[in-house]
Symmetry: C2
Subunit: 318 residues, 2 copies
């Protein structure tokens, strides 16, 4: 059986492009650029909690990198370096090779150097820490939303949840919707270009990992404001078209996790500017507004304010 | 049961002293100083592999931080920030409070800001990523050892292994040696001041996590050199005094992991300078020399070269 050092050397010691020293010493060495601040985020993915233990290793590798990069995107940063620690139940060479391939493909795609990590024996656990750069004082935090700001969301949140429902036999999806939902679940795309483009316009931003409604509450709490969502404005068409009922579509959109789309706020006078950032591949939808009154309500199709009960997925009280 | 967000807020959201933004957003923000490079290291600790599941939570918190800080010390850096991700089998408030107390005590002691992390449900797993600073081009790597260099070690390696043997009933230690060995095992001290002081003198350095002989081999491989250890020079007295036989002492010293003492090489002309860095609390012992011939041998008490079979602990082939 190969030693952990061999496994690391063979699959994890890739060339780095913008690092002083990569894998193989006590630490990696990087030199952040002058005039930039460093963004740091850690995510831990656990078999059984965040993914099925039999999930395709290559897809899991991609996702482990992607969800971390998404945190950098969510602050308007540019991801630059990533470290990965993983615990494996056994030294399964094929699994490690496929996982490493998915992980490094995602890193290379977004020009991120894989600078090191740790491999150990234990129940399957993947912990990545990503470092990004953002020009000093230009990071987009959660606490900048102001009453009157529009609320925007990128892409089609809810697809990943719909894909998960299919895998759990709660719904039956047909092609081509099935492939699209499974791609959203297994190969999320961190919205890095969009995040960077929003640096001077978004007042608050995050990525949707636990569900649109629950994650929006994080912005509201941090900014000490409330929000109204317009049911009529919510992007439900694609979920509908995939075969979900209206109620199912609403649930996936508002409470489904794992989408990694960007949710952000911006002053109304920037609407034209923001609309120009949208594309066919990545639409941007204005779904509501920030209010001075605390709390989160949805204006239903009759214009009546309904309290929004849906909330994000929470590992410890779910 | 409190949510993971509540747990994080209550115990992990400490004040930061030299960070732009700490826990609570998608990323933490730090501003590395100009003229410094950034050192990054990740360590994952798994119950059953690295510690007993019933290990005292406060001590485990200390050790989780300390072993990471030690990687920064091992390159001559100054630890500045740390992120922690942890998987917990259940939301045990008392355990989290004690663990967080140990972790933050160690961080505060070494002036390290705890800037964020992730908490999730899963088999107990602790993954910390630490960031340190070192003046540009002054990091001490593993690949700088040159033939003729002395080999030095700090403190008393082997104590942690002896403490572990006691807990596993392989030996019976008496006070006060028992306390000292258990302290080495449970409350390792990262040698940060020593690491910094060695910036301009050590040619190669690492911290002993897997055993002196095995870790020395990492320096030899990276530097493409060999080494001779002098059996007569090895610091065995304290291990002897604790009740270990000569053979046991040698085994603990050469193969015992978890010590986090510094092992380094330096040119002979710097002996006086290095000796001045030693203290009663932290002696420095010169234990051998780097050779042009590859391989690691020990000169026994008769001056005969013996190949050194002992090797470091390796999670996947042990």
């Amino acid at each position: 059986m190969p030693s952990e050092f061999d496994l690391i050397r063979r699959h994890f010691a890739h060339l780095t492009r913008h690092s002083v020293l990569g894998v193989g010493d006590d630490c990696a060495i990087v030199a952040p650029r002058q005039g930039y601040e460093l963004l740091v985020s850690t995510d831990m993915l656990v078999a059984g909690t965040h993914f099925f233990a039999d999930t395709d290793a290559e897809a899991l590798g991609w996702k482990t990198a992607a969800v971390n990069l998404s945190d950098i995107a969510a602050m308007g940063g540019e991801p630059r370096w990533i470290a990965l620690a993983l615990a494996l139940p056994q030294a399964d060479e094929d699994w490690v090779a496929a996982f490493a391939n998915g992980f490094s493909t995602c890193c290379a795609h977004f020009n991120v150097d894989w600078i090191g990590g740790d491999t150990t024996r234990g129940p399957l656990n993947l912990c990545a820490t990503v470092f990004g750069e953002v020009p000093t004082k230009q990071a987009i935090c959660r606490n900048g939303a102001r009453p009157g700001d529009d609320i925007w969301v990128s892409g089609q949140p809810g697809l990943a949840a719909l894909g998960l429902w299919h895998l759990k036999n709660r719904i039956v999806l047909c092609e081509p919707a099935l492939q699209r939902c499974l791609a959203a679940l297994h190969r999320p795309q961190p919205r890095i270009a969009l995040g960077k483009a929003l640096r001077r316009s978004a007042s608050a931003m995050l990525d949707i990992s636990d569900g649109l409604a629950g994650d929006l509450r994080h912005i509201l709490t941090a900014s000490n404001v409330g929000a109204e969502l317009d049911e009529a404005a919510l992007p439900l068409t694609t979920l509908h078209a995939a075969g979900a009922s209206r109620a199912q579509s609403l649930q996936c959109l508002l409470s489904g996790g794992d989408d990694y789309e960007l949710l952000f706020t911006a002053p109304p006078e920037l609407r034209t500017q923001i609309t120009q950032l949208a594309s066919a591949a990545l639409p941007l939808t204005r779904i509501g507004r920030i209010t001075p009154n605390l709390g989160l309500v949805m204006l239903d199709l009759n214009g009546q304010a309904q309290p929004l009960a849906a909330r994000g997925f929470d590992h410890f009280s779910a």
